[in-house]
């Protein structure tokens, strides 16, 4: 960190002396610097930020010790105070850093160049709550919170082995955000780990507020609308990804973790798939994939067919379509764009409003505007059905980020459908496929196991096959140990019918 020539490092000159540190701190009104005289006529100067320090701890554990005792050195103080994390320091940079993060600094004399640092931070933590974005009916109901230590605790409790390695990096020249990179050292591919670590170290930015900042900064292709790293709020999901040899990134202050490398197909797998029986989980995955395809193509096919290829549809269906459109004064593209934008407007308004008002918006938007638009002959009711269904389908994606992408790429498809009909849709689909082929997640192919085709990784892609068949870790992660469990028992089961009775 110190040797990097980032621009942001030059903005703040490191303070050279302790008094300079205090001068900078004293401008804040939550900064406390008092001198205390004990009954033995000894003086202490204690310094801290009252907003960062646990006041109760200070009053009950530290002050009484200082008042009662008679000390000749700081070492004596250190041995008597019942706090483990203490340190005697004279380094102004170190002292500044500690003061900000909730340490108490104790000196004998105000002018002393050294003092004792006591760790007494007050920690405001939200209770661990039920996951809201990735809710599941079955399975654990814990989700990450904003406190990094709590999140690490949630993960350590799930992976009880010493190999769970946590590496901390501080990024952000203003926020000094603590970022933890987690991996299982005996399984994760070291190349993946090093890539992630290196990319995080290379981040040169002043504020890192959330893990999504990191996500966007370490992606392979930053200009692609497709997310290349998976973000999740479920500790069970992260624990499971870690056990497959992936790397997880947790950021202090962020309730979402990032896992990588990620395949495209994983964005369509909900973690509940592992809690349901494998047939049901597989069917749900296929339904989700179908929903995505429907969401992308339905409206644009409507526009293409009604604009150019009316002969493509059979007579009976065509008459239904024509009747529903007979009073509408617009071409299909205007109609479709109007409805698509309305739906996205409703979604956006619903997302920004408090949840109770949001429900009203849903009713007003969905029912009132929809019905009124049809009755006013602004849109056909068939298109309303199609657009509403495709909006619904785009919400079926378990990962929020990919749902946004799908809603976005519907619009270019609409435009291409208007220009070149179904040929336009194929041209753009081909472009999308090629774009997906070019993508990589931390250097690993994004479209795997479709391309490059790997039959082993198909066990947990479109389908989730039973656990007894998941004996190998996915090859695209390139794990150091591929085997998950021994399959010998499985192979011994080929006994004959009614073998036990002679």
């Amino acid at each position: 960190m110190t040797k990097s020539n980032k621009v942001s490092d030059d903005l703040r000159r490191p303070k050279e002396s302790l008094s300079e540190v205090f001068r900078a701190c004293e401008k804040s009104q939550d900064f406390v610097r008092h001198t205390l005289t004990t009954q033995y006529e000894q003086t202490f100067t204690y310094t801290f930020f009252e907003t960062m320090v646990d006041g109760q701890l200070f009053k009950e554990q530290i002050l009484p010790v200082l008042q009662k005792g008679s000390f000749s050195t700081l070492r004596d103080v250190k041995s008597l105070i019942p706090i483990e994390d203490t340190e005697i320091s004279a380094d102004p940079i170190e002292i500044e850093k500690r003061l900000i993060s909730g340490y108490i600094f104790i000196q004998f004399e105000k002018a002393d160049p050294y003092g004792l640092l006591l760790r007494a931070p007050s920690v405001e933590r939200r209770a661990v709550t039920v996951p809201e974005v990735e809710y599941s009916v079955l399975g654990p109901k814990e989700s990450f919170v904003e406190n990094l230590d709590v999140n690490l605790h949630l993960l350590r409790r799930r992976l009880k082995i010493a190999e769970l390695t946590v590496e901390n990096i501080t990024v952000g020249s203003l926020t000094n955000t603590r970022v933890s990179v987690l991996y299982l050292s005996h399984i994760a591919n070291s190349e993946n780990v090093n890539t992630v670590l290196q990319r995080i170290r290379d981040i040169d930015y002043d504020e890192i507020i959330d893990s999504s900042y990191i996500n966007q900064m370490i992606e392979d292709n930053k200009h692609s609308p497709f997310p290349q790293l998976l973000d999740t709020e479920r500790p069970d999901r992260v624990a499971s990804e870690l056990s497959r040899g992936k790397v997880a990134v947790l950021v202090d202050g962020s309730p979402t973790a990032i896992t990588t490398p990620t395949r495209f197909i994983e964005f369509f797998s909900a973690f509940e798939d592992y809690y349901l029986s494998w047939h049901i989980a597989s069917i749900y995955r296929l339904i989700r994939l179908f929903a995505v395809l429907f969401s992308i193509f339905a409206t644009s096919l409507y526009v293409a067919v009604l604009t150019y290829h009316t002969e493509l549809i059979p007579m009976d269906l065509l008459s239904t379509l024509v009747i529903s459109r007979e009073d509408i004064p617009f071409p299909p593209i205007i109609e479709a764009l109007f409805l698509e934008l309305t739906i996205d407007l409703l979604r956006e308004a619903g997302a920004r409003l408090p949840s109770k008002v949001g429900q009203t918006i849903g009713i007003v938007g969905g029912i009132v505007i929809g019905t009124a638009a049809v009755e006013a002959s602004l849109t056909s009711n068939i298109l309303l059905i199609v657009v509403a269904l495709s909006a619904l389908a785009s919400f079926a994606t378990p990962i929020y980020r990919i749902g946004n992408t799908i809603r976005l790429i519907r619009f270019p498809f609409l435009i291409f459908a208007q220009i070149w009909g179904i040929i336009g849709i194929t041209i753009l689909s081909m472009f999308m496929i090629i774009h997906l082929l070019t993508l990589k997640s931390i250097g690993r192919p994004y479209l795997e196991p479709i391309f490059p085709p790997r039959s082993n990784d198909l066990r947990d892609a479109f389908f989730r096959l039973p656990f007894s068949l998941q004996f190998k870790r996915s090859t695209y992660v390139q794990p150091e140990h591929g085997k998950r469990f021994s399959i010998r028992e499985l192979l011994n089961k080929n006994e004959d019918i009614d073998e036990h009775i002679d």
């Binding site: 290829h309 194929t426 041209i427 090629i434 082929l437 391309f451 085709p453």
Partner: protein
């Protein structure tokens, strides 16, 4: 794990299956049954099998040439070693332009089909520009993506083959009887025409160094070609059963016309879907051929492939401007096919003999 970097940029030998097959299957499969029926009537199914076997032999020859010397595993290097810088360079140039015009002919024919069946008023430029852009986008990201295009060019439209089962409802088995009522000269002409549907796979001569363990890919190349032969045989057979001989000879694109028979509850004219999906079939034709062009030019001139690719795309567009009418398109396709015929039938065997002679010389001296 010793060469992870290499593995990233090389392709698995199995993928040669897709590269060979998708390069062969293209525009030809829409109309070849008419051409062979003109040559040898409804007995020309024999020619498909014979041509298929001959091409298997040529694939074997190509692999022998490529495996002859490990340091020279692609055509520009082989040419340079056997014929020297200038003559070898000229020969490479001929092949590069052969691939270039192959891509152009495919693109022009596809645009022609769209103009004929879907949009009579659409201009060539309007379709050529986005298509060439997509092709360029794929090639720009390297051979791994080009292979991916070939993979999807097989996987997405392969089910279209089964739509050929629908016309069999109205099939007439008497059409192809009696079997073997044919003459040798007829069959030879039909074999010649048929081989044209199989050209394109010789791009192996250029992408061979990109394959991990090239020797292992030979069986996949044969397999890919085998699937092409089966697909053509199947399409020809269903067409022969469905159409009467005089009718077939009158149709420009019998495969497309056959799709008209399919009726689904929500799709009336299936050939529209077929034509739209056919874009995904011809995409590998275009990308592989133009990739060969840009790669070969890079190897010959030392220019960056980014630049040779741009040159290829622009040249392709300019030559499309010249080829305006249907007759010109047919002329270009036939000329490319004739050159392809000479390359496969004469040039590759000659190259094979030279490589054997050189190898023997190298061993004796």
């Amino acid at each position: 794990m010793s060469q992870p970097k290499k593995a990233m940029y090389h392709i698995q030998p199995q993928l040669v299956f897709f590269l060979v097959h998708t390069m062969q299957a293209g525009i030809g499969i829409l109309s070849f049954q008419r051409q062979i029926a003109i040559e040898a009537g409804y007995q020309s199914w024999i020619a498909i099998i014979i041509a298929g076997l001959i091409v298997h032999g040529i694939i074997w020859l190509i692999y022998e040439i490529l495996n002859a010397d490990e340091n020279r595993n692609h055509l520009p290097a082989i040419h340079k070693a056997y014929f020297g810088k200038w003559v070898g360079g000229m020969l490479t140039m001929v092949l590069l332009f052969y691939f270039f015009f192959m891509a152009t002919a495919v693109l022009r024919t596809y645009i022609h089909i769209i103009q004929l069946w879907m949009f009579p008023k659409v201009t060539m430029t309007e379709l050529a520009i986005p298509l060439l852009f997509v092709v360029g986008y794929a090639i720009y990201h390297g051979f791994r993506v080009v292979t991916g295009v070939a993979f999807f060019g097989f996987m997405i439209p392969i089910w279209l083959l089964f739509t050929n089962l629908a016309p069999l409802e109205f099939g007439e088995t008497m059409n192809i009887l009696p079997l073997f009522d044919t003459s040798v000269s007829e069959q030879i002409r039909a074999v010649e025409t048929m081989t044209l549907s199989f050209i394109g796979f010789e791009a192996i001569l250029f992408y061979y160094p990109f394959i991990q363990n090239g020797k292992a890919s030979q069986k996949w190349a044969h397999f890919g070609h085998g699937v092409t032969v089966i697909a053509h045989f199947f399409v020809a057979l269903t067409s022969f059963l469905f159409y009467s001989e005089p009718q077939l000879k009158k149709l420009l694109y019998p495969t497309l016309s056959m799709w008209k028979i399919i009726q689904l509850p929500i799709i009336e004219r299936f050939e529209y879907v077929g034509i739209a999906l056919w874009l995904i079939v011809i995409m590998p034709n275009l990308t592989i051929a133009l990739w060969v062009f840009s790669r070969g030019f890079k190897q010959m001139t030392g220019m960056k492939q980014k630049h040779t690719l741009t040159i290829g795309l622009v040249l392709s567009y300019l030559s499309l401007l010249i080829i305006q009418t249907y007759d010109q398109t047919v002329w270009l396709t036939e000329t490319v096919a004739k050159v392809g015929m000479m390359i496969l039938g004469i040039y590759i065997p000659v190259l094979f003999v030279i490589s054997k002679v050189k190898k023997k010389k190298g061993e004796t001296s």
